[in-house]
């Protein structure tokens, strides 16, 4: 996870540095695909019951997450509509 965060940070830094020279009036139009890193701050909860009396409940578990996403954006002036799957 730490290596992934470092790698993503490096990639973002590289991309940000190139953004300074990016042209204006770019649009979000088009198909896109990307790598995703993230975290959860709340997990599933589970409850055991006996005669409908709650025995014990526990929840919340932090975890990392990684994956991919892809989608399409359509921009009309300042309005952007799109669909994304991950």
């Amino acid at each position: 996870m730490r290596k992934s965060v470092i790698a993503l940070s490096a990639l973002v830094s590289l991309a940000l540095s190139s953004a300074a020279s990016a042209q204006s009036h770019q649009t979000f139009n088009g198909f896109f695909v990307g790598g995703v890193l993230g975290a959860t701050n709340q997990g599933p909860s589970a409850t055991l019951n006996d005669d409908k009396v709650e025995l014990i409940t526990a929840s919340v578990s932090n975890a990392g997450a990684a994956g991919v996403q892809a989608g399409y954006n359509y921009q009309m002036n300042k309005l952007v509509l799109g669909v994304v799957g991950d």
Partner: protein
């Protein structure tokens, strides 16, 4: 995405649950307050593969694995870096209600319920076409 796990204990019994392989298909709508910056909201359907192992005195009594779906929604921001790339930060909440079934223990009166909501915060680097 392998998301999270919960373990509950009762004397020598314990239950471990896990959401994994989170996925979603979402629509989104947003606006660009300034060039290269997109603020958006998103809503759609989320899916997960859910598993639970229920142990009694150290012995596996029941193992559950099933798919679940529910509403996924959130919002975020995207920053255009070049004509072909953008970075994005996003919050997505998945709302699942999964598995209500008989309990694993001796009495038929036991039951096991699992309810899940998952909050995710994520960043992504994306590459795009120009049309």
């Amino acid at each position: 995405m392998d998301q999270s796990a919960t373990t509950i204990n009762h004397e020598n019994d314990f239950v471990s649950t896990r959401f994994k392989d989170l996925g979603s298909l979402r629509f989104r709508a947003g606006f660009t307050p300034v060039d290269n910056l997109l603020l958006f909201g998103t809503i759609g359907e989320g899916w997960t593969r859910y598993s639970a192992d229920i142990n009694d005195n150290g012995e596996l009594r029941k193992s559950i694995s099933e798919n679940a779906s529910g509403l996924a929604y959130g919002g975020g921001a995207a920053l255009m870096l070049s004509p072909n790339s953008f970075v994005q930060a996003e919050y997505v909440h998945y709302n699942f209600n999964v598995n209500n079934g008989p309990g694993p223990f001796d009495s038929d009166s036991t039951s096991f319920n699992s309810l899940g909501g998952v909050d995710t915060v994520r960043v992504s680097v994306n590459f795009k076409t120009n049309n």
